[in-house]
């Protein structure tokens, strides 16, 4: 009798012990309107990377997200080091990390790197997926081919010399070849059992509603093994809904609470975090037709913006934007800054013979990284009009605006500026793609077809300069040139507000689009 009873008692005791230590969960309310995909490169913009892509996967290069007081730097990821082939400046050699295992137990080797790069680029291989190709395409524009040298060394060739190539590689997740083969390249099946090398393993998901991750207890970077039991992601595009969900305890981590909710959140004991990061809220301009072809008008517009006022409207939740990148960026340099000066703005407009100066700007009512688009655009409009502009807004939904963004000035000659926030993480994404001739829309991010021989020279020098110090000086020069030419109307840098329940401890907000949730502990 007793012999049969004992195990039962033990089981009950065990269960009681288990219940005593409740599972600690971070539940994140994302701004995305749907769950990001899990098959490699995520959709839903950089938020998809932040919570899904870089949780499940690693890339060859990575970002140091452990500090909040300086800009995140590129650090080794699945590659421990990389260098340019001394004999060929189009050939990179990557040394890979040894002993790394995918969530499914398979080892990570050079074969996986070659296999993954083919998956994103080569239409002829069985692992090719059109959708992933489209998502990865912007990051692999200079990629030409990859080749295994030994089990832990890979050579990657670029089409042209590209000294910045390691940066976009941080956005190319390495997925498990074993798992993809096990599901016979059925990516819908793979999506429900993704396997990477990242700090979190996929647990389950309810389409459109929630996705759950559990810690990868064997993560190669011991310091980054998650300190909570579960990470839950919930898409919640409505800002006020996110606030209500945090206040009512449904979630304990929300992205981008609206500025007007700050007082309420703080009074409820929530911790509100902000930090500068490479985000740029600015108008890209039309350099083909209209008033902004004249540099004086562009400068006038920049002088017209009273950024402290904009900041006040957002309850301080922004950094004043005077350049494409915030000053904390390593390659900021020493550019000319157009501080608010209404008289100078008016004088410049008169000098340019554009007074009143009629302009049409395309804006959206919402969208990724747009902050508070309507109030901010309205305020900018009134500031521009105060110095002699006449602003006409074309208000459209986010997708229509992206369409204008892709179409460029040839397709939309009557639009003189567009308000699409762009990520500004590395020198190429922050600067080059906005001004280089090769990036003219629809091929790239140079929406307004800016063309400048000085910039072209700088860009080709930067790409061919593999000495980091010399390259940094050139990049600073590029930023200074862009400011001198006033290539955008700069208004703000977002400060990425997020609000956390007081029970969450240990979060360090990095100066980056990406964040590391692994050190967070949750007290009951």
């Amino acid at each position: 009798m007793m012999r049969r009873l004992l195990p039962a008692i033990a089981a009950v005791a065990l269960m009681a012990a288990g219940a005593a230590r409740a599972e600690s969960t971070i539940t994140v309310a994302m701004t995305a309107d749907d769950l990001p995909i899990t098959t490699g490169v995520p959709d839903q913009g950089f938020e998809g990377y932040r919570f899904v892509g870089l949780s499940l996967y690693d890339a060859l290069t990575s970002w140091d997200l452990s500090k909040s007081d300086k800009a995140a730097a590129l650090v080794p990821g699945l590659a421990t080091s990389w260098s340019i082939d001394p004999a060929n400046n189009k050939r990179w050699i990557f040394k890979l990390r040894e002993g790394v295992k995918f969530h499914d137990g398979c080892a990570f080797t050079a074969d996986d790197v070659v296999w993954n790069l083919q998956r994103y680029t080569d239409k002829t291989v069985p692992q090719f997926e059109t959708f992933q190709f489209a998502l990865a395409r912007p990051y692999l524009t200079s990629y030409a081919s990859a080749e295994k040298i030994d089990a832990y060394t890979v050579a990657i060739e670029t089409k042209t010399p590209d000294s910045l190539f390691p940066y976009p590689l941080s956005l190319i997740p390495m997925i498990s070849k074993c798992r993809a083969e096990a599901v016979k390249y059925d990516w819908n099946a793979y999506a429900n059992q993704p396997s990477g090398t990242g700090p979190y393993r996929f647990a389950k998901s309810v389409p459109h509603e929630r996705m759950e991750f559990v810690p990868n207890t064997e993560y190669w970077d011991v310091a980054r093994r998650p300190k909570q039991d579960r990470l839950v992601l919930v898409p919640m595009p409505e800002a006020s809904t996110r606030v209500a969900a945090l206040l009512s305890g449904q979630v304990n981590f929300i992205e981008a609470p609206p500025p007007d909710s700050m007082a309420r959140l703080k009074s409820a004991g929530m911790s509100v975090l902000t930090n500068t990061y490479p985000h740029n809220w600015a108008y890209q301009l039309n350099f083909v037709s209209g008033p902004f072809t004249d540099v004086r008008v562009r400068r006038a517009a920049n002088y017209a913006i009273n950024r402290p006022d904009v900041k006040e409207m957002l309850n301080g939740l922004m950094e004043e934007g005077y350049s494409t990148i915030p000053p904390s960026t390593p390659f900021f340099g020493n550019p000319v800054l157009y501080k608010f000066d209404a008289a100078k703005a008016t004088a410049l407009l008169k000098e340019a013979n554009c007074y009143p100066c009629n302009i049409t700007l395309a804006i959206s009512t919402s969208g990724s990284g747009q902050m508070q688009p309507l109030p901010m655009n309205e305020l900018v409009k009134s500031q521009l009009e105060a110095v002699g502009f006449k602003v006409n807004f074309e208000v459209m939904d986010w997708n229509a605006l992206l369409d204008v963004g892709r179409g460029g000035p040839d397709k939309f000659p009557k639009i003189h500026g567009i308000k699409i926030s762009r990520a500004a993480m590395d020198p190429f994404y922050a600067l080059i793609r906005h001004v280089a001739r090769s990036q003219w829309s629809p091929a790239g991010g140079n929406w307004g077809h800016y063309e400048d021989p000085v910039v072209e020279k700088l860009v080709s020098d930067i790409s061919a300069e593999f000495d980091e110090g010399k390259r940094l000086a050139l990049i600073k020069g590029l930023n200074e040139r862009m400011n001198d030419q006033a290539v955008m109307i700069w208004v703000a840098h977002d400060v990425n507000p997020r609000a956390l329940s007081p029970k969450l401890k240990g979060f360090v907000q990095a100066q980056s689009w990406f964040q590391d949730l692994t050190p967070i502990t949750v007290s009951p």
Binding site: D260, T365, F393, V395
Partner: protein, 302 residues
């Protein structure tokens, strides 16, 4: 949200108009007398007139410029520096915005109904008076649109066309047209078989004459009443579209849009979130009650 779309005229016909002028006057006289006794309808009618008046004369009535922003004066409470109802998330005067918002709400309430009445009504009369084949083509086409719940159809059409006030109105017109068409068709078919039409035909009146003189007179009543009951549905649907971002675009003032933009400021000044909703509600109640009152006075059953 669709209150009476399911309603259909039944055998109780609209009092048959005859060619005798005196009888016509007698009918309208009694309608007016009945309306005069209906205090509730009169009161709500007055409120409605007030709303319409304020909307029409918005530039004269409104205390401030509806687009004038003030960063220092955002989300202020009632009575702050002459802002009777406070200010919105951009520091614009809320009362002024509400007054201007009445314009777009009344427009989205009436224009689609008017368009639907004209198009649907004409199609209905044609279907009712035309041959069997014409009738089948028109009415079966209408049945297809009837197969969509009204909210769904409105959202689908305006969503597909990319939103905006004009697209929203087109969508709402398409939503109401089939119902108007059915009402007109049913009434026309019923009138058509009545004796006096036969008599008119016998005296040699042409089809057009008959439609103009006899059919229209009989069809307009039920159509008018049905249309009046649709106005509040149209206001609710229209503001719903704006709330979803598929209707009026900023910075225009519109109650549905105001509701969706001030939602972000819920935690600072909850009352400003309540006001646009209340405005929609009051206007819609007024239209419903006045429509009910007129229907009662005209003694028409739909």
């Amino acid at each position: 949200m669709s209150t009476t779309v399911a309603g259909m005229p039944d055998s109780n016909l609209w009092p048959t108009e005859t060619t005798q002028e005196t009888q016509v006057r007698g009918y309208w006289g009694s309608v007016l007398r009945r309306l005069g006794r209906d205090k509730a309808t009169l009161i709500f009618g007055l409120v409605l007139l007030l709303i319409v008046g304020v909307a029409v004369f918005a530039p004269l009535v409104a205390p401030f410029d509806p687009y004038k922003e003030s960063i220092a004066g955002r989300l202020k409470p009632f009575g702050w520096r002459g802002h009777l109802l406070g200010t919105d998330e951009l520091g614009r005067d809320l009362l002024t915005r509400l007054i201007y918002g009445a314009r777009s709400s009344l427009l989205t309430g009436t224009v689609p109904v008017l368009i639907a009445t004209i198009i649907g009504g004409s199609l209905g009369v044609i279907a009712g008076f035309g041959g069997r084949r014409v009738n089948t083509v028109i009415m079966r086409t209408m049945d297809v649109f009837y197969a969509f719940p009204s909210v769904l159809l409105a959202v689908a059409i305006s969503g597909a066309m990319g939103g905006g006030m004009l697209n929203g109105m087109i969508a709402l017109s398409m939503v109401f047209t089939p119902a108007m068409c059915r009402i007109a068709e049913t009434t026309t078919s019923q009138v058509r078989s009545l004796d006096f039409i036969e008599a008119a035909r016998a005296t040699g009146a042409g089809t057009f004459m008959i439609i103009r003189h006899h059919v229209l007179g009989n069809v307009l009543g039920p159509v008018f009443i049905y249309a009046s009951s649709l106005v509040s549905v149209s206001i609710l649907l229209g503001s719903g579209l704006s709330f979803l971002g598929l209707g009026v675009k900023p910075p225009e003032a519109d109650w549905g849009l105001m509701l969706s933009t001030v939602r972000q400021s819920l935690y600072v000044n909850p009352i400003i979130c309540a006001l646009p909703g209340a405005a929609i509600f009051i206007t819609s109640v007024c239209f419903n009650l006045v429509s009910d009152g007129i229907r009662g006075a005209m003694d028409v059953r739909l």
